[in-house]
């Protein structure tokens, strides 16, 4: 008599698809989502990854502060973290896991395009994965491994007893007690080459006997390899995706995306006088703007890229159109440009910036991302991000000339070496304002200015907008504005080639 072993699988989304709070992102999502959800999911994951990056540099990754802060960000952004088996919350947990899944794949599309983007993305996703894996229970970890075809079984108690001496003498920091209490995993030696190579593991019959604490390194390695391969594949199929008109603008700006205020609405018009600009430039301007201002004063000229970056910044801190015109005019006249030429050639572009010409759009000042990633400076340019674009030696000299201590300079240079440009700037902020913790996450030159003014006591006039309620709006606004921005910018750029 034959017994059929088949059971009809009742498919509820909760059962099959997201059986675990953590995943390797092996299979792309196969459902339809709205464009709005596409955008929101992507932005929220981006925020999460940026938080992972920032916290990772500011705190030790195993510390309590790191853990607490990162978990609270998980909650804020509605991402799954612990394997909560709370029935009441089943639906919301499912929603979170779905968001995790989809948002990861959207960001792959945006971050597969260049080597730099890929590296950044892989690094943050790995840190995120490590954090979430470490937070799982032992049982949950094994479940995860099995669900993902990492057939790493745990070593049975009897086997452990028989091998205890050998396990103790082969693995680092493992005592007899550890062997009996903790899990050991049997991993094919091909998956544990680093441990095999250095003979830091017990091998038997082709299997490496890995203690619990070391399994994460192996799993992470696997994660990184898979993601790296996947990104390479994604890059190849990207042209097809980008040809979709709805997605193209979204994706091409996601990697430049700024997820905070855009300082486009001028709240402080007229509060700054032109005479204040010089002292302000040394006290409250970020290094990039300080540099631009200095070279403007010295050369009585700035090229197109510099004019855009600096001009919009000045607008953002509160200069009115009239003030701006006066400012640029008076400086350019000191140089090779006479009044007539200025009115003919340059005034137009200033008015354009303020939305008084052409399409009459109000342009938004550049975010750090935009400054760092777009339009790198060449010979004769002073724009860009000094932490990104300056030669480290020259940067060092400049910081020395600003009277920073050698240890301070070293801290900054270390961050630059690690490619954490905004964090380097933030450190610069902290050092020049003599504070321990800036209390904000630097993303925008105008934000730098506002925070600086706050610290220096002019907080009455310059208010800092609370970020939380505006997040959703600002996110899509940011995208909308920056998308528009880029389109418009191209028009403007076309009109004004250099000089």
């Amino acid at each position: 008599m034959q017994f059929s072993r088949r059971r009809r699988l009742v498919s509820q989304p909760q059962d099959g698809l997201y059986g675990h709070c953590l995943q390797f992102y092996g299979r792309p999502p196969a459902e339809n989502i709205s464009l709005a959800e596409f955008e929101t999911f992507a932005f929220e994951r981006l925020k999460l990854l940026k938080t992972v990056e920032n916290l990772g540099v500011s705190y030790v990754k195993t510390s309590d502060q790191y853990t607490k802060k990162l978990y609270s960000e998980f909650s804020n952004l509605n991402f799954p973290h612990k394997a909560e088996a709370d029935d009441k919350k089943e639906q919301t947990e499912y929603e979170k896991r779905r968001k995790d899944h989809i948002s990861h794949f959207i960001l792959r599309l945006a971050y597969c395009q260049t080597e730099d983007l890929r590296r950044w993305f892989i690094q943050q996703e790995m840190d995120l994965f490590r954090f979430r894996f470490s937070g799982l229970t032992s049982k949950s970890k094994t479940e995860f491994l099995h669900q993902n075809n990492l057939q790493y079984d745990t070593v049975s108690m009897e086997q452990k007893k028989a091998l205890v001496d050998k396990l103790v003498s082969s693995s680092y920091a493992v005592s007899g007690a550890t062997v009996m209490e903790q899990d050991f995993y049997k991993v094919p030696f091909q998956d544990a080459l680093d441990l095999v190579r250095t003979r830091k593991v017990f091998l038997k019959g082709g299997y490496a006997y890995i203690p619990h604490q070391d399994i994460i390194a192996i799993v992470l390695n696997d994660f990184r390899t898979r993601l790296s391969k996947a990104l390479a594949l994604t890059a190849r199929s990207l042209p097809a995706v980008q040809s979709d008109e709805r997605l193209q603008p979204l994706l091409s700006h996601l990697s430049h995306a700024y997820v905070g205020q855009d300082y486009s609405i001028q709240k402080n018009v007229g509060k700054i006088s032109l005479e204040q600009i010089d002292p302000l430039s040394t006290k409250s301007f970020p290094l990039c703007m300080r540099q631009l201002h200095k070279s403007l004063r010295e050369n009585h000229h700035l090229r197109h890229g510099g004019r855009m970056q600096y001009g919009l910044f000045l607008k953002g801190i509160g200069l009115s159109l009239e003030q701006a015109l006066q400012f640029w005019r008076s400086e350019f006249i000191k140089g090779k440009v006479d009044a007539d030429k200025f009115d003919k050639a340059y005034a137009y572009s200033v008015r354009h910036m303020f939305g008084k010409e052409g399409k009459r759009t109000d342009y938004t000042p550049y975010s750090c991302m935009k400054v760092i990633l777009s339009n790198p400076p060449s010979q004769g340019d002073y724009h860009g991000c000094p932490f990104r674009h300056s030669d480290p030696e020259l940067l060092k000299q400049k910081l020395q000339s600003y009277k920073l201590s050698p240890s301070a300079i070293n801290q900054i240079l270390e961050l630059v070496k690690g490619m954490h440009y905004q964090l380097a700037c933030q450190k610069y902020f902290e050092l020049t304002h003599n504070i321990e913790d800036s209390g904000f996450s630097l993303n925008h030159p105008n934000q730098y200015f506002m925070e600086s003014q706050k610290v220096l006591g002019d907080g009455k006039d310059v208010k800092r907008e609370p970020e939380t309620p505006h997040r959703e709006a600002a996110a899509s606004k940011g995208l909308g504005a920056s998308r528009q921005n880029a389109e418009e910018m191209e028009d403007l750029d076309a009109l004004f080639q250099d000089d």
Binding site: R5, K166, V168, S169, S170, F189, Q190, L193, D194, V196, R197, T198, R199, F202, L203, K204, G205, G206, Y207
Partner: protein, 387 residues
């Protein structure tokens, strides 16, 4: 013809005979086909031949056993190297789009060379060997064999005496053949006891507790050490060898701490294991004059490198008049099918020579792999039957 044992001038006469009547082509083919499990596995294998006057030809490949035979009988190579299995037929590699012709699989091969021990041997040097320094090889073979089987789980190891001063170990398991370059170097490093290159030996970094691999290796060394020292290998200094050996024996009896025991002898026979691994590229399987033969590890301690047959010896044996019994069998065969008769004749031929026991060893090795493959197929079909 003892003169022929030492120079290659008679090879042109002997090699044709050897390849026509004695070389075990069917065993070779059986080995390198690996049961025909993977398509074109034999056809995509690279062979290289070293011909007379040191002419070296690469990228030889063959469709079947018969082609291999014919070509070798035509070329009469002095040396045959077995390379990797490639993505395409090596003989056609020039027709393949550049970048797509790649090595895919290769056995994992270890080469233990006597010359690595020159700083420790006092009896011989370079290509010379004697029975006392051969013990060093024995130790190395034992350590490697144990580790490959017990630690790494490899089962199909073909140990071959390469005819002169080295031993090769061919690990033929599927997992070994598929092992990545990173995997191979990791295995090699795991097995390395001596770090350091051509200059002075560097001591092994020993930590307490000792890793099981080191502990096991130490046990092997100790087992052979006394024997080795007693055989007159003057490793302990110029004089009073016997006294020192006695001291050592009593030391071993009293001192049980493995780290201390190891430290005592480490300075003396350190270069016990310095493996060179051929990761890519090719490794010889047949040497001139002395023939490469498989080694039976169970008889390892009795293995005498000087008793390995030379080509001139076996050709001589072949020429010996047949016994009466054999004559009868030959008469019978004349009536049979020609091809079958040729095969049978060949088998009888090598059985009359000293090659016989070595071919038998090789057959045993191949049988073992065939059994394992069969077991694997059965296991897989059992799993499928579950449904």
């Amino acid at each position: 013809m003892s003169s022929c044992d030492y120079d290659s001038s008679c090879l042109p006469d002997l090699l044709p005979l050897y390849y026509r009547r004695l070389f075990p082509f069917s065993q070779y083919y059986r080995w390198l086909s690996y049961g025909g499990v993977t398509k074109n596995y034999f056809q995509n294998r690279e062979f290289s031949f070293t011909l007379k006057d040191d002419i070296y030809v690469r990228y030889q490949s063959f469709s079947n056993q018969s082609e291999l035979e014919k070509e070798m009988q035509k070329m009469n190579p002095y040396k045959i190297d077995i390379g990797a299995v490639y993505s395409h037929r090596p003989s056609q590699h020039n027709t393949v789009k550049s970048g797509t012709f790649q090595a895919l699989e290769k056995e994992l091969v270890f080469d233990i060379d006597m010359t690595d021990y020159d700083d420790v041997r006092t009896c011989c040097s370079a290509a010379d060997i004697c029975s006392s320094c051969w013990t060093l090889m024995t130790i190395a073979v034992r350590i490697l064999d144990r580790a490959l089987r017990e630690d790494f789980g490899f089962q199909h190891l073909l140990w071959v005496y390469s005819g002169r001063r080295g031993i090769h170990c061919w690990v033929c398991d599927e997992a070994a053949r598929k092992l990545s370059v990173a995997g191979r170097s990791a295995v090699a490093e795991y097995l390395s006891l001596v770090k350091g290159g051509e200059e002075t030996l560097k001591k092994v970094q020993l930590s307490d507790p000792l890793h099981p691999f080191i502990r096991e290796s130490l046990a092997v060394v100790e087992h052979y050490f006394i024997q080795y020292a007693l055989m007159g290998q003057d490793i302990l200094g110029n004089s009073k060898t016997t006294d020192k050996v006695e001291d050592l024996q009593s030391f071993f009896q009293s001192e049980k701490n493995p780290v201390k025991r190891w430290k005592k002898i480490s300075g003396l026979c350190m270069p016990i294991l310095r493996c060179q691994i051929y990761i890519q590229g090719i490794l010889c399987s047949v040497m001139i004059l002395q023939i490469s033969v498989p080694i039976d590890l169970e008889e390892l301690d009795k293995f005498d490198p000087f008793a390995v047959p030379t080509i001139s010896l076996i050709c001589e044996e072949l020429d010996k008049p047949r016994t009466g019994e054999e004559e009868e069998v030959v008469e019978e065969e004349k009536k049979e099918n020609e091809i079958e008769a040729a095969e049978r004749r060949k088998i009888r031929d090598y059985k009359r020579t000293s090659l016989a026991k070595y071919v038998k060893l090789f057959d045993r090795f191949l049988d073992g792999m065939a059994r394992a493959r069969k077991g694997e197929i059965l296991r897989k079909s059992d799993l499928q039957k579950e449904f």
